[in-house]
C-alpha cells in the first residue's frame, strides 16, 4: 500500500526520532565522554542518541516501503487554544490571583472545543471556581490569594 509522503505516518515518525536523536547528539557533544572505566556525563547520552538515530532511520526507511496514513484532522483550534489556556493560567496565577486565573483557564480551554457556548462556559467556570476554591484553598490549604490587590 502506497501512502502519500505528506501523510505517511512512519516516515514522519522516523524523521522525528532521527531529528531528536541528532539534536541530542549535537547538544551532548559538549559533554566529556570519559572512558568505559570512568563514564563521563556524555557517555550514556551519546549511546542513547546514537541508538535513536538508528531506530529512527529504520522506521523512516520502512515507511517509504509501506506505511499507514495519518488519521483524523489536526484540530488546529484545540492545538493552539489548549496550551494557550494553560500558559495563561500560569501567568495569571502569578499576577492576578487564583480566581481570575481559573476563569480565564476555563473560558479559553472551553473555547477549544467544537461546540463552544459562551454562556455555558461562563456557568461552568463559576461552578469550577467554587469547587476548586473549596477543595484546594480551604480544603487542602494551598497558599494562593483569591484575587491579587493591585
Amino acid at each position: 500500500m502506497k501512502t502519500e509522503l505528506r501523510s505517511n505516518k512512519d516516515v514522519w515518525a522516523g524523521l522525528m526520532f532521527f531529528g531528536t536523536g541528532a539534536g541530542a547528539m549535537w547538544i551532548a557533544r559538549a559533554y566529556p565522554l570519559g572512558t568505559a572505566l570512568n563514564m563521563g556525563p556524555g557517555y550514556f547520552p551519546m549511546l542513547l542518541s546514537g541508538l535513536l538515530i538508528l531506530v529512527g532511520l529504520y522506521i523512516m526507511l520502512r515507511g517509504l516501503r509501506r506505511s499507514e496514513a495519518i488519521e483524523g484532522s489536526w484540530s488546529i483550534r484545540a492545538l493552539i487554544l489548549l496550551p494557550l489556556s494553560i500558559v495563561g493560567f500560569g501567568v495569571l496565577m502569578r499576577h492576578a490571583g487564583f480566581v481570575p486565573a481559573l476563569v480565564a483557564l476555563v473560558l479559553i480551554s472551553a473555547a477549544a472545543g467544537r461546540e463552544f457556548k459562551f454562556k455555558e462556559a461562563l456557568l461552568l467556570s463559576f461552578y469550577l471556581c467554587v469547587l476548586s476554591v473549596a477543595v484546594f484553598i480551604w480544603g487542602l490549604g494551598l497558599p494562593y490569594p483569591l484575587i491579587n490587590k493591585f
Binding site: K9, D10, W12, A13, M16, F17, T20, G21, A24, I27, Y31, P32, T35, A36, L37, N38, M39, P41, Y43, F44, P45, L48, L51, L52, V55, G56, I59, R62, I70, G72, S73, W74, S75, R77, A78, L79, L82, P83, S85, I86, V87, F89, G90, R94, L105, V106, A110, G113, R114, E115, F116, E120, A121, S125, L128, S132, F136, L140, L142, P143
Partner: protein, 498 residues
Amino acid sequence: MEMFQNILFGFSVALSIQNLLYCFLGCLLGTLIGVLPGIGPLATIAMLTPITFSLPPVGALIMLAGIYYGAQYGGSTTAILVNLPGETSAVVTCIDGYQMARQGRAGPALGIAAIGSFFAGTLCTLIIALFGPSIAELALEFGPAEYFSLMLMGLVTAAMLAQGDMSKSLAMVIVGLLLGMVGTDVNSGWRRFSFDIAELGDGIGFVVLAVGVFALGEIVANLGSAEKRTIFTSKVGALFPSKDDLRRSSGPILRGTLLGAFFGVLPGTGPSVASFSSYMVEKKVAKDPSRFGHGAIEGVAGPESANNADAQCKFIPMLTLGIPASGTMALMLGALMIHGIAPGPTVMTQKPDLFWGLIASMWVGNLMLVLLNLPLIGLWVSLLKVPYRMLFPAIIVFSSIGIFSINNSPFELYLAALFGLVGFVWMKFGCPPAPMLLGFVLGPMMEENLRRALLLSRGDPMVFVTQPISLGFLIATVLIAVTMLLPALRKRRGAITD
C-alpha cells in the same frame, strides 16, 4: 507463620481510620475519573498525584493505589455500559460486556466484573505476601550489573509487548531515557540538556511529563475527533449474577487470575496482554465458542480477573526490586521517590509499615470497590451523560492546579503545555507514550548502574555476561525479543490486538 504476622501487621496499618479514609478517597476519586471517557488510569493517577504530596508517605501510597484500581474498575464500567474502553485492557471487556448490556444484562456483567476483580485481588494479595519477601531477599544480592540487565529486560519487553508498532515503542523507550537525562548529572555536576534554564536543573518532573502527555495530549486528540457516545442503559438491572452465571464464571475467574498474576510479575507487559490472553484461553476451552462476542459472561469474568490480577502483581517488581513494570508503576515509583523513599529491596525491611500496609490496603480497597462502588453505579452512569465539552475544561482545571502546586511556579505549566503538544504529535504518528514514561523513570537508574558496573569491572563490558544472574536476565531479554520477532507469532499477535 511469619507471613501471617506480617499480613496482620499490614492490616493494623491499613485499618487505621486515617488510612481507611485515604483508601476510600482514592477508590472513589479513581472510579470517578476512570469512568469519565477520554481519560485513562495513567492520566488519572498523574493528575491526582500532586494532591497526595501533602499526605504522609504510607497514606499517599495507599491513596494512589486506590486511585489505580479504582480507575481500572471505572474503565471496565464504561466498557460495559458505553462500549468505550477506558484503557486498552478494557477493550476485551467491551466485546462481550457491551453485548450483555444490550441484552439488558448490564447488571450481572458489572457484578461479575467486580466479583472477579475482588477474587483476583484477594489471591494476589496472598501471592505478594508469600513471594515478596523472598524476591526482596534475592534482590539484596544484586549488584549494579544485575540491576542494569534487569532494567534492560524490562525496557525491551515493554517495547516488544506494547500495543502497536515494536520499533516505534523501542524508539519511545529511548526518547524516555534521554528525557530522564535532563538536569544535573549527579556524578559530574554537568547540567545536561537544560538549555540554560534554571528550572530544568533538577530535571523534568514526572508529574509534569505524565500530565502533559497523557491528560493534555489526549484531550487535544479527543477534541479533534467527533464525539460519539451512545449510552445503552436505561436500566442496569439486578447487579448480582444468577447461580448459572456464577457457575459459568468460576473457571474463567480462576484461570484469568493465574494468567494475570503470571503476566503481572513480568516487567513490561501491560494489563492488556493479560486480558487478551485470558479471553483467548476462555474461547479455546469453551464448549460453545460461538457464544463469545454475543454476550458470553465468561468473556467478561476471565479478562476482568486477569487485568486486576496483573495490576496488583505489578506491585511485586516495584516494591521488591524498585523496578516499575508498567507506566502506572513508573508513576508510583516517582511518587515514592518524592516522599524521600529510595525504592529497592530495602523498602520491605526499612519501611515495613509502608510495604505491608500497602498490601493489606489493596485487599481493603478491592472490598470497598465491591461494597461501595457497585451500589453507586447509578451515579457513575449519570456522570457519563455529562457532555465532553463540560468535562474536559474540568480535567484541565484540576491538572493545572495540581501542576502549579508542585513548585508554586508557572514554569511547570509551560512545560506541561509543551508536552501536551508533543504527546499529541506522538499519538498522531502512532508512537505509544507509555514505554516512554518507563524509560524516563529508569533512565537515571540505568546510567548509574551501568557506570558502577563498568567501574567495578575496570571497564570490562563482559561483566554483564560473566555474572550468572545478569547473564540470565540478558538471555531472557534475547529470548523474548526473538520470540516476538518470529513471523508466525507476529501475525498472531496482530490478530489478537486488531
